[in-house]
Amino acid sequence: MDFGLSEQQQLLRDSIERFVQDEYAFDARRKIVASEEGLSRDHWRTFAELGLLALPFAEDEGGIGGDGVDTMVVMEAFGKGLVVEPFLPTVILCGSLLKLAATAEQRAGLLPGIIDGETLLAFAHGERRARHDLGHVEAKAARSGDGFVLDAAKSVVLGAPSATQFIVSARTAAGISLFLVPADAAGLSVRPYLTIDGQRAGEVTLAGVTVGAEALLGPDGGALPLIERAVDIATAAVCAEAVGCMQATFERTRDYLNTREQFGTKIGNFQALQHALVDMFVELEQSRSMAIVAAVHAGSDDDAARRRAISAAKVQIGKSGRIIGQTAVQLHGGMGMTDEMQVGHYFKRLTAIEQSFGDSDHHLARFQGG
């Protein structure tokens, strides 16, 4: 066994950590979150220059050929900075769907735009009644000539407001299928909003959107296994991001205990708080272990082993994130409740991650083969 990062992975980590440190300080992030678009185009260009937008794609298609561990390295660093740019929906989630389902022709049409930062994607999949069930798709794709007409109401679609291109799931006569739909297609509309953790998402409605046969992504009626695999990859990615959040939360809380004084002494001298800090640390270590397990299994073709690993990681990280987030706020006292302190923002991201890509109950059942 080897838990070490390769030299290249260390370089990757260092370059993103440097970026986060120099460009993504808390105030800078706050401005991005408050901006009209909720993302920085400059930073997106930087991601393109660093090769991050090419990370998962094959080298012969202009990509870097990165694996699950590379994704983990990036996402953990993003977690520390609470990066809000739509890297996850564009590169990880939709990028994986393209890798798994797209024809060479479709990839040739889309990957260059993604890699150079022109194309932003969102996966319009979840629906009002779907909750955490990936197979719950009511959206319809009716044959019309050699193309399709799409009718769909998609809910809480991450990255929807900035997407130039959507991957939409809908049912054809054959079953759940995926379609590439440009954001400016007639009949497609987005109700954009902020999410509690400073990201952007939206309700996406498709009312009689017509697409050609070339819009079908992957097998007609056979998309569900591909969706499940792409979502597993994204789940492993948010587990790594959560570890970055937890690490930063832990460090800030430790530093606060070493600074804040009450009763004439550092509050870190109170044993109740020392034990709480240790509990946070244990959760962090447990989560890091599981994020690694998830990263290594993320791309696996062995469905049973992959499901078990990813779901176990999500359960662990859901629990640990809650404990770490809540304890951090508690140990900061009133300061922990303020929008001014970064710990509260990590807490919110951890809360959002717990409810994304299946909550703990969902993954506990899936871990047991359910």
Binding site: D133, V156, T195
Partner: protein
């Protein structure tokens, strides 16, 4: 032993229920039910209605407008207020300041301030905490210097809840900087419109702004607004904290929220069936319910002891710790019930009269903000760590 309500108790419950149903304005009730933000006017309107019925401060002595109710009646009243979706009665005047005035105030102070609390003419806020003095409240630095018949007060208070609405603030100040920590403190009453008072909102993680910094720059406070003796304010301060903690368990509120949670979970579906029938989720609700039932009877036992005249022991702290844990656990289940639909941040939906189309279940826009906001309950009113310190001292001494 008898754990049931008497016929009189039941009649009393009907009386309260009918009053609420007939007098609470619908638009206020709807806002409370939807967990939306209330305006100052919403609170005051309701409090004036209660005052009209003589129910603004049931726990006060009868001669000052209290009700002489039994513990069971107080419990019933609290439940009906919560289940009737009434705005909570602001505790700063009725539950914090009033007991201090009744015990330590002069006759003139009681005459001047108590009736105006009852009638909601004065909105009070609590000026205890400072940036450097939270858990260690006695470490406060705000200075009050006696000049003729005034104190001149300079310093900073923080976390002051709803100071933006307040007409008055009761303030802990340091009148003798030379004395030992607890011994140089005084309890004074400050008109918020005095020159030198400025209030700055503090935004919290849920996006709301209910707390404030209050800056005091040479604020003049007449000496007649000193409560109790100069430099003996710590006694008042501690007396008040005992009262603050007892109401903080929020048992009736938790019961109501559990009922609402069950409604949300009945409408949400998982695999095509109601979430409320989903074993793991149902068990989580039931576990909290059991814990809450236990706390309800622990509270009733404590109230019964109190009326028998027994000194309050660790009960207020126990009720505060477990009560806030339960409240927080319920807010977590609301987020879990809404799942991904709890993630949109729709602050407009939290304002009354707003017409924002919901994402996910009705009212879901309030679930995550409430979860985040409710983290405060284990921090304020003496943090849960401090409560446990208090209890362990009592237990180990026994």
């Amino acid at each position: 032993m008898d754990l049931s309500y008497s016929a009189e108790d039941l009649a009393f419950r009907d009386e309260v229920r009918t009053f609420i149903r007939d007098s609470l304005p619908t638009h206020i009730r709807d806002k409370v039910a939807a967990q939306q933000h209330l305006s100052k006017d919403d609170y005051v309107t309701w409090q004036k209605l209660l005052h009209g019925r003589g129910w603004m401060a049931p726990h006060w002595p009868k001669e000052w407008g209290g009700c002489d109710w039994s513990p069971v009646q107080r419990h019933i009243f609290d439940e009906e207020l919560n289940f009737g979706n009434t705005p909570r009665i602001m505790p700063f005047g009725t539950k914090m300041l009033a007991p201090v005035l009744l015990k330590f105030g002069t006759e003139a102070q009681k005459q001047r301030f108590l009736p105006r609390i009852l009638s909601s003419e004065d909105w009070w806020c609590q000026g205890y905490s400072e940036p450097g003095a939270g858990s260690d409240l006695a470490g406060l630095k705000t200075r009050a210097e006696r000049r003729g018949d005034h104190y001149v007060v300079t310093g900073q208070k923080t976390w002051t809840t709803l100071a933006q609405y307040a007409d008055w603030m009761f303030v802990l100040v340091r009148t003798d900087p030379g004395a030992k920590k607890q011994e140089g403190i005084s309890f004074i009453l400050m008109d918020m419109r005095s020159k030198g008072v400025s209030v700055r909102p503090i935004r919290t993680i849920d996006g709301s702004a209910e707390i404030n910094d209050v800056f005091l720059d040479e604020v003049e406070v007449p000496v007649e607004n000193l409560v109790g003796e100069e430099n003996k304010g710590w006694t008042c301060a501690k007396y008040l904290l005992g009262h603050e903690r007892s109401g903080i368990a929020g048992i009736a509120h938790s019961k109501k929220m559990l009922e609402k949670l069950r409604r949300v979970a009945a409408e949400e579906t998982i695999g095509g069936r109601p979430l409320i029938e989903h074993g793991p989720f149902r068990d989580k609700i039931a576990r909290i319910e059991v814990e809450l039932m236990a706390l309800e009877y622990t509270n009733l036992r404590a109230l019964a002891n109190e009326t028998r005249g027994a000194m309050p022991g660790p009960e207020p702290s126990i009720l505060k710790v477990r009560g806030t844990e339960i409240q927080q656990a319920i807010t977590e289940l609301f987020v879990e019930a809404a799942g991904p639909y709890a993630l949109p941040f729709l602050p407009e939906a939290l304002e009354g009269g707003a017409n924002v189309e919901p994402v996910g279940p009705d009212g879901a826009a309030a679930f995550a903000p409430t979860y985040l906001n409710w983290r405060k309950t284990s921090i304020y009113g003496g943090s849960n760590e401090i409560q446990k310190n208090i209890v362990s001292k009592i237990l180990l001494r026994a």
